[in-house]
């Protein structure tokens, strides 16, 4: 029993990270119908920026977090402006390959900027774990889960309550009508990119203290985030969130109860089953037909 609770705690922590990554991917998808395969690299940028700003430059924590986020947003903005928008591709697979190129480029840049060694970042608060029902809960896990909820909530608020957010939704549901209402959809796409990559950076910021950061940490995380977004249903914000948590918990339970070597396989088999049974994901928002 105690073990199960421990597995759940671990799963929810990892899941919350996947969730933040998935939320960023999903949000970009819902406004531009693009999956950014470089998303994981923005997670890396966030984590490595924390290493630089907080550990090396010893900036105050809030400032370091803000700076790391800003770096993520700016890079996303530049990426949209100079790569995605310049590309006049009609076939979305071409855009996807561009993001693959960007991911390799960013990884290379990261290696050059931060070197090949991994780094460790201290926890936001004390290291001591809290004991609940005989299972240990890390304070950083609480930070991560709270952060994930806060972030998803924040995006929810932005999309539902602010004029710009609603305009972004409007562009996503009906770009033609949005244009006819005077909403500049290109600017919305840039904004969506910046927010999405910002989310990636935030995931990196949260993850840095619980694990080790290195220039090549992003790929697998981006992939897991992609899976999570798929499980939840592309374009659905809370679906992505739930998908992330579910994937994390499945992995943890799989590792704990069945086989740690096969845990990823277990997660992927369930993912395939979900896709077969509910082809649009658990919380399908709309038909995802792009390539």
């Amino acid at each position: 029993m105690q073990e199960i609770i421990q597995y759940l705690f671990s799963g929810i922590t990892t899941g919350a990270i996947y969730a933040v990554i998935a939320v960023g991917l999903s949000m970009l998808y819902s406004s531009t119908e693009l999956i950014n395969f470089a998303h994981g690299e923005f997670v890396m940028v966030g984590a490595m920026a924390m290493v630089t700003f907080w550990v090396h430059l010893a900036w105050p924590l809030p400032l370091a977090i803000l700076a790391a986020m800003a770096l993520g947003c700016t890079l996303g903005l530049l990426f949209e402006r100079f790569a995605i928008r310049t590309a006049k591709a009609s076939n979305p697979i071409v855009l996807v390959i561009i993001t693959v190129g960007a991911s390799i480029f960013l990884r290379g840049t990261g290696m050059l900027a931060w070197g090949k060694d991994p780094f460790s970042v201290p926890s936001f608060s004390s290291h001591e774990s809290i004991e609940i029902l005989g299972a240990a809960l890390l304070p950083q896990s609480i930070w991560i889960v709270l952060g994930a909820i806060g972030l998803a909530g924040g995006i929810h608020f932005f999309l539902k309550k602010t004029l710009t957010g609603k305009a972004m939704v409007a562009c996503a549901v009906n770009q033609k009508a949005a244009w006819l209402s005077g909403i500049p959809s290109e600017r919305m796409a840039v904004l969506a990119f910046a927010i999405s990559t910002g989310c990636g950076a935030i995931a990196g910021i949260f993850i840095a203290p619980i694990t080790m950061s290195s220039y090549d940490m992003g790929t697998i995380l981006g992939l897991k985030g992609f899976c999570a977004a798929m499980i939840g249903g592309l374009g659905s914000l809370w679906g992505a969130f739930a998908g992330g948590i579910l994937l994390g918990v499945l992995e943890s339970l799989g590792a704990g109860l069945i086989s740690s070597g096969l845990k990823d396989a277990i997660a992927f088999i369930l993912l395939l089953l979900i896709l077969y049974i509910r082809p649009g994901g658990l919380f399908a928002a709309k038909e995802a037909k792009r390539f």
């Binding site: 305009a167 009906n174 009508a177 949005a178 006819l180």
Partner: protein
């Protein structure tokens, strides 16, 4: 106010409009009628900037619209109620209206937007009742009213309506046309594109008849209402006339 000269539109290899000219004066209600595929919608797409591949001339208040994007055309003062309504179904009715006022908000004219809300909601009381509902849950007629209201929120000097009666029950159609008439009486210049010729001509000042991408008739609405050719444009000639008529 709006002047179109020798407009030609084509999609790929299909030419939908072959050299159409028309004009709309301030305060007028103009109807363009014609059967499906006559090229009415293509003409409107060109006016609103959604179609780029047109040649000829379109000018609004003496400024050419060539190369302008839809948002800048909205800012210039033309609002369009698109065919099939195209409301933002996952947003609430109120939010749909806010989207319509997007350019107003961006011009920092919040006070005016508030006034417009009042005006629009009093014109369409049903929308006030459903202000918080998701737009997708409205009935067809309500959606059409919402689409019109949304377009009005941008304070257009020219309102363009594309087939507002499409797919609606006759009673609702009557209501919509009454609303359009009221708007005209309030001084809004209106360009109405319709299949429903009688209803459209009844409220219009002048009318144009399009057939297979060409302007075949134009004149005052009253003249057109009684014109036999209008009927022909819709229902075709009868069997015997067909091959003779084409043979000439």
């Amino acid at each position: 106010m709006l002047r179109i000269k020798n407009l030609k539109c084509s999609y790929g290899s299909i030419t939908a409009v072959h050299g159409v000219s028309l004009s709309v004066k301030k305060g007028e209600l103009i109807s363009i009628i014609g059967a499906n595929g006559a090229g009415k919608s293509s003409l409107l797409l060109a006016v609103c900037g959604l179609m780029k591949t047109w040649s000829g001339e379109i000018s609004f208040e003496d400024n050419s619209l060539r190369g302008m994007s839809p948002p800048s055309i909205v800012r210039a003062g033309i609002s369009m109620v698109p065919e099939g309504r195209q409301i933002f179904s996952p947003l609430s009715v109120m939010d749909n209206l806010k989207m319509g006022a997007y350019t107003m908000y961006r011009k920092r004219m919040k006070a005016e937007v508030e006034k417009d809300f009042k005006m629009v909601l009093s014109m369409f009381p049903i929308l006030r009742e459903r202000a918080d509902q998701l737009a997708g849950t409205l009935s067809g007629g309500e959606q059409q009213m919402l689409a019109i209201a949304r377009a009005l929120m941008a304070r257009p000097r020219l309102l363009v309506l594309d087939e507002p009666s499409m797919g609606l029950a006759p009673k609702i159609v009557d209501m919509i046309f009454e609303t359009i008439e009221t708007l005209r009486n309030q001084g809004v210049t209106i360009l109405l594109v319709e299949q429903n010729a009688r209803a459209a001509l009844k409220i219009a000042d002048r009318g144009y008849v399009l057939e297979t991408g060409k302007m075949v008739l134009q004149g005052s609405a009253d003249e057109l209402l009684v014109d036999d050719d209008v009927k022909r444009a819709y229902l075709g000639q009868d069997y015997g006339d067909f091959y003779d008529g084409r043979g000439n």
